[in-house]
Every structure is written in C-alpha cells, then in structure tokens.
Amino acid sequence: MTASVFFGCTFIAFGPAIALFLFTIAREPLRVIFLIAGAFFWLVSLLLSSLVWFISVQISNKESAVQQKGLLIFGVVLSVLLQETFRFAYYKLLKKANEGLLALSQEETMPISIRQLAYVSGLGFGFMSGAFSVVNILADSVGPGTVGIHGDSQHYFLSSAFMTMAIILLHMFWGVVFFDACEKQRWWAVAAVIISHLVVSCLTFQNPEYVTSLVPTYIILFLMGIWAFYTAGGSLRNLKLCLTCKDKDFLLANHRPR
C-alpha cells in the first residue's frame, strides 16, 4: 500500500493522458482552453445524471438490494446517454464559435481546426471522467490499510487504474470519431460510439471479476483507436513515414532538419 501503490496507480491511470497533454496541447493556449471547456461540459452532464439518480434513490425502496442494483444500472445508462448528448452539444457550440471566429478574424484560415477540437475535447472529457473515477481511490491508497481484507479482491486499486486509463483514451477516440461523424453526417458512426460507450460502462458491472471487464474494454480500446486513427487521416503509409522519421511535413512543421 501507501506511496508505491499511489504513484504506480496514478501513473498508470494518467500517464498516457498527461503525456499527450504535455506534448501536444500544453504549448497552445487555445487548445488548453478548449480542453478545460470540454472537461466542464462533461462535469455538467455528470451533475445532471447524478441529480436524477439521487432523486430516484431517495424515492425508492432503500431496503431492496435488487431495486438498488436496478437503479444503479439505470443511472449508468442515463449517465452515458447524457455524456454523449453533451458531447454533441459541445460539438454544436464549437461549430458556432468557429464560424464566428472565422467571420471576425482577418485571416482566411481558422485558428484551430475542427479535428484538433475533436481531439482536445475528447481528451478533456477523458481527463475529467478519469479524474472523477479514480481520484478518491488514489487518495485512499496513500493511507494505512489493507486492500480486500474482508474477502474482496486484492486487485481493486490496480484494476481501477487500468480501467481509468482505458476510459480516458476511449473518450479521446470517441471524441475524434464522433466529431468527424457529425461533420460528415454519418449517424451510424455516432450510434456506434454511443453503443460502445454503453458496452464499456456496462462491462464494469462484471467487477470484481476484473478479467471479464478489463479484457473486453481493452479490445474495444484498440479497435476504437484504429478507427480514430483512420478517421483523423492516418494510414499505414503515414505511420511508416512517421516512425522512420521521413515524414517531411512533420519535420518541416517542427523545424527539424533531415
């Protein structure tokens, strides 16, 4: 327990996300602002869904475990639907803002493209979602105690951290695919995003059998990642050029000689 678990779980959960933030977003103030705005939108969606859940719990029968479990499932499904609704709302807001900015500025090009916005807003959603999932667990992992002393699983902290990492990256991929689908009016893709979000959230009901919840989640993560990669304009050729440092556009943009 204590420090090693705390740091380990923190870096597992937030490592990739923070790396993405530091290398691609931190330098550009506009992207940081949209990231935080995205986080705020996710927060509002969570607020609404937790309000509904709270009220429904108050009026329900607190003794019946089956009813409570049913309410929990209902709460999760509602929360997912609300999150996706707010993602759509954020998309609409950004479109409007972009048009406004274009009209205002003297330049021909927009200061930030809708693809960058998709990435940044997805990551914003992911950061906030991950933080809410795992921060209290991390705070507890510092203190004294033994995990699962009453017979529960000993892998609670670790699997929570892995789940959080998957969720953050998934939110980012979902953001990219969602915005692109909205741009091109491909509603089946939007539905696919919503369904995969529902599937991942409902998989967590398998806990504490962490294998059955984590492995499918990671499979979905890889598939979504590949989909988002192709949506954002990637291809095997690009990937090869990038990995062998022969991608001239990237090198020119970063002022690196070749």
Partner: protein, 302 residues
C-alpha cells in the same frame, strides 16, 4: 487571429497562478488542521453565532451576518471612492502599506507557526524572526516598488492563499456560503450599474486621466476588511502590479495588445479571485471528497 491568440495566451497566464493558489489552499486545509478547527471566535463583521440548535435560527443568523458583511463592504467602497474624489492620496497609500504590512508579517507568522505545530518541528524565535523579516521585507519591496515578475506572482499566490485561509477559518459555515453567493451578486452590481461606487471611481479616474489609476482600482476593490487592516489591499495591489508587470513584460507586441480599457473587468477579476479561493477551500474543508474540490477547480477556471 493574433488578437484571439493573444487573448488565449493571457487566459492561460491567469490559469497558472490560480491553479497554484488553489493547490496551496487545498494542501494547507488537508494538512494543517488549525484552519478547519471549529472556533467560537468570529470576525466582528459576523456577530451572530451559528451555534444555535434550530435550523431556522441558524439560517436567519447567517443571512444577518451576510447583510452586515455586505454593508461593511459597501460602506468601505464608498469611503474609498470619496477619498479618491477629494484627492486624499496619502491616506490611501498609507492604508495600502499598513494592510500589506499586516498581511505579510502577521498572517504569515501565524501560518508558519501552525505549519510547525502540525509537523511537530521545534524552531527557535531568532530563526523564525529572520525568515519572517526577509519574507515580509522582500514582499513589501516587490509589491510597492519593483521586483522580478515571477517573484511578484509568487507573492500574489501566497497572499491570496493566506487571505482565503483566514476567511475559511473565521467565517462560520453557513454564513460563508451565503456570503460567497452575495458577494458574486455585489460584484456585478457594484461594477456594472451606473450608480455603483466602483464605476464612479473608474469614471473619476478617467476624467482626471491619471496614471495612478490601476493601483487605485485594485485598492478600491480591496476595501473589504478594515478590521484586518485590509489584507486584501495587498493582494489586490499585488495582482495589480502583477498585471502591470505582465504588460511591461509583453512589450514585444505593443500594437496588437488589447487596450486595457476595461478596468471593470479587472476589478471583477480580483474580487472573483479571492472569492474563488475561499470557495475551493471551504469545499475542501467541508467535504472529504476530492471530487468536490476538483469540480470547484474546473468551474472556477471556466
């Protein structure tokens, strides 16, 4: 497009001090128990106690406390505007110096003492005297004269955090929340309405076309707690000098700079600054849940 990018950069430059300040406040609340201990001692501005058994009475007391606090603020703001109108600059300067002195020396001495108590460190008086003297003297120079930009910002962060912590300790629970709400409303009213004292201050300064104007705007926004020798003044003037320093630092793009002719926004920013830190601190103190703190943090940034 450059104006937009400049605006975005400016916003980010605000995010970092705000974040650091919140980190300091939250860290202190979580570790130094002094600031969350229940105390019967209250500020003279909130004379009604909240120790009453009935809910209705407690609510009434907190509303009364809020009314008293807000009226004190209004009176002090009008007093400051009157002083400015009749050109009593020496008085205002003296007030500023006195309040920043008190904040830098007395409150930081208290804070240091509590931190030592929490971590069970025995430190002798000469050492503490040396530390506080240096901290305070450098702070006074940075605020009222010149200093490196980052040092000024660091002082701003520490002073705001100290202020917020004192408020968190001495404001009773329910009064704190009602006051936070009322002050938000007061901010808007005082700055935007035509008869508002702060707006009058701005207009007088603009008529006179005076350069002293930024520091005074901030000092007017700071007229909150005279009893505590207006420690806010120090924070505001620091923020003010911080903003001026930012401007001088950013002389690279003089033409593209957005003209700082919206002092109302600056004044609002300042009063929101301290109010937000009190909010975060109170949220952390009352809830054991880190989610609450996170929520307040993101909401404040937005």
């Amino acid at each position: 497009e450059l104006t937009l990018k400049y605006g975005a950069k400016h916003v980010i430059m605000l995010f970092i001090p705000v974040t650091l300040c919140m980190v300091v406040v939250v860290a202190t609340i979580k570790s130094v128990s002094f600031y969350t201990e229940k105390t019967d001692q209250q500020l003279i501005y909130t004379p009604f106690t909240e120790n009453t058994p009935s809910v209705g009475r407690r609510l009434l007391n907190s509303v009364l406390n809020t009314i008293i606090m807000i009226s004190v603020i209004v009176v002090m703001t009008i007093f400051l505007v009157v002083l400015y109108k009749y050109r009593c600059y020496k008085f205002i300067h003296g007030w500023l110096i006195l309040s920043s002195l008190m904040l830098l020396f007395w409150f930081s001495f208290m804070y240091l003492g509590e931190v030592f108590k929490t971590y069970n460190l025995a430190v002798d008086y000469p050492t503490v005297g040396l530390i506080i003297w240096n901290f305070g003297a450098v702070g006074m120079i940075c605020i009222h004269w010149k200093g490196p930009l980052q040092l000024q910002q660091a002082y701003l962060i520490l002073i705001s955090a100290l202020m917020a912590l004192v408020f968190i300790k001495y404001l009773p629970e329910w009064s704190a929340w009602v006051i936070l709400g009322a002050i938000s409303v007061y901010d808007l009213v005082a700055v935007l309405s035509p008869k508002g004292p702060l707006r009058m201050l701005v207009e007088t300064a603009q008529e006179r076309n005076e350069p002293i104007f930024p520091a005074l705007i901030y000092s007017s926004a700071m007229v909150w707690t005279v009893g505590m020798a207006s420690p806010m003044d120090a924070q505001r003037s620091e923020h003010g000098s911080d903003e001026e320093a930012e401007q001088s630092g950013g002389r690279v793009e003089p033409e593209r700079r957005q003209p700082r002719t919206f002092p109302e926004d600056d004044v609002e920013e300042d009063s929101e600054f301290i109010r937000d830190h009190v909010l975060v601190g109170k949220a952390t103190a009352t809830g054991g849940d880190w989610n609450t703190t996170l929520t307040c943090f993101v909401a404040i940034l937005i």
